[in-house]
Symmetry: C2
Subunit: 227 residues, 2 copies
């Protein structure tokens, strides 16, 4: 039985996702969006409510509950990658003035931002931690998939977002890509020379990120605590 499942739980989790995506959603919409019957959705949402994963507001609509916040923040704190990366992101911002990101592959064929540092320019790119990013047509995506061009970094000009240029480099201890460091810049501000310079910086930081790690045996699981 390679296939697991547990339909009920899967459905509940999908519902939870829908509620979190929406921020606030009435029962009927949640049911529609997840393709569940109203009664099933109600029952599952009630279970989620009873455990604090969602709550109802005065209007009766469902919202993400505090348990979600709690577990999420806890989990984020346990991700040692972000604490390792933070100084690197900071340096990148200091040296480039642009926003810098750490992202990792998610389970569903996308990527997700785990940490960011906002740039200092007044016109800056603003994404946010926890945001999903497609792997197609993005610099981060190319890197997370393992396409590392000779230069050591990937540049995507006006990819998913128009007028935005992204420069990304892989964090790949032992050849296995576990994360990407990237810098995102309004395209009008970028020059060929600047691209090379920043690309080199990003690649250098990405390389250095896990260089100190004594002996990452198989280059696996560096998303957890190093201990």
């Amino acid at each position: 039985m390679a296939e697991s499942s547990t339909r009920t739980v899967e459905r509940a989790l999908v519902l939870l996702g829908a509620v979190c995506d929406a921020g606030s959603i009435p029962l009927a919409d949640a049911a529609r969006e997840t393709g569940l019957s109203a009664s099933t959705a109600l029952r599952l949402l009630r279970t989620l409510e009873g455990t604090g994963f969602v709550r109802r507001d005065a209007a009766g609509a469902y919202r993400p509950g505090l348990r979600v916040v709690q577990l999420g923040v806890q989990a984020l704190a346990h991700e040692s990658l972000v604490s390792l990366a933070e100084p690197a992101l900071e340096r990148l911002v200091a040296l480039t003035g642009e926003s810098a990101y750490l992202s990792v592959p998610s389970h569903d064929g996308e990527g997700i931002y785990l940490a960011m540092r906002e740039g200092t320019h007044s016109v800056r790119h603003a994404s946010w931690v926890g945001r999903s990013i497609p792997l197609d047509g993005t610099a981060v995506g190319a890197v997370l998939r393992g396409e590392e061009p000779a230069a050591g970094f990937v540049v995507v000009r006006n990819g998913i977002e128009a007028d935005i240029t992204a420069i990304a480099a892989p964090v790949s201890p032992g050849g296995q890509v576990v994360a990407a460091i990237s810098v995102v810049i309004p395209s009008y501000r970028i020059t060929p020379a600047g691209t090379r310079r920043i690309g080199a910086l990003v690649a250098a930081e990405a390389d250095a990120l896990l260089a100190h790690i004594p002996s990452a045996p198989a280059g696996q699981d560096l998303t957890g605590e190093p201990a």
Copy 2:
């Protein structure tokens, strides 16, 4: 059937909680801790894994997955209370040098820190966002329960944590307590006069927090977006 349930989902969520609490936990421990049979725990954890809520590390142990981080951060961002409170916390830190917190009642009879601002003193109290706090014997607890003494703030000296004094005041638009603002101080640093001064500051900030809000009808649901 006033009682909801859905045993399977509840169990899965308890497991998820256990994994997040532990940070990293092998199947057997998770099963023991939740009182589930190994096979059931395995099946549920697999479901959680398939949806990205947990993942396995190289050793096979379970850890919080990225989905948890993602939803948690999303949810936290949607909490308008924290954006409203942040300036207040900042001011408190500026005026007192001590760490300041925003907390709300959780679903399980505890409280949870939703936002914090670290103090500037070299010896400071460090808790963290997402942390649970008991309601018994804490200043925050007293406030969240609705016990507002005449002074407008509660002081608890050496409560749960020894050598720590906490001063908390309720955020209660329309009489209903929805949150608490608090400052936490190493006890040796506090004086009677300082307590009064800080208490007044905390109470003032807590009062002012939702004063601007045009017309919070029944004083409900201010944890969500004000729209």
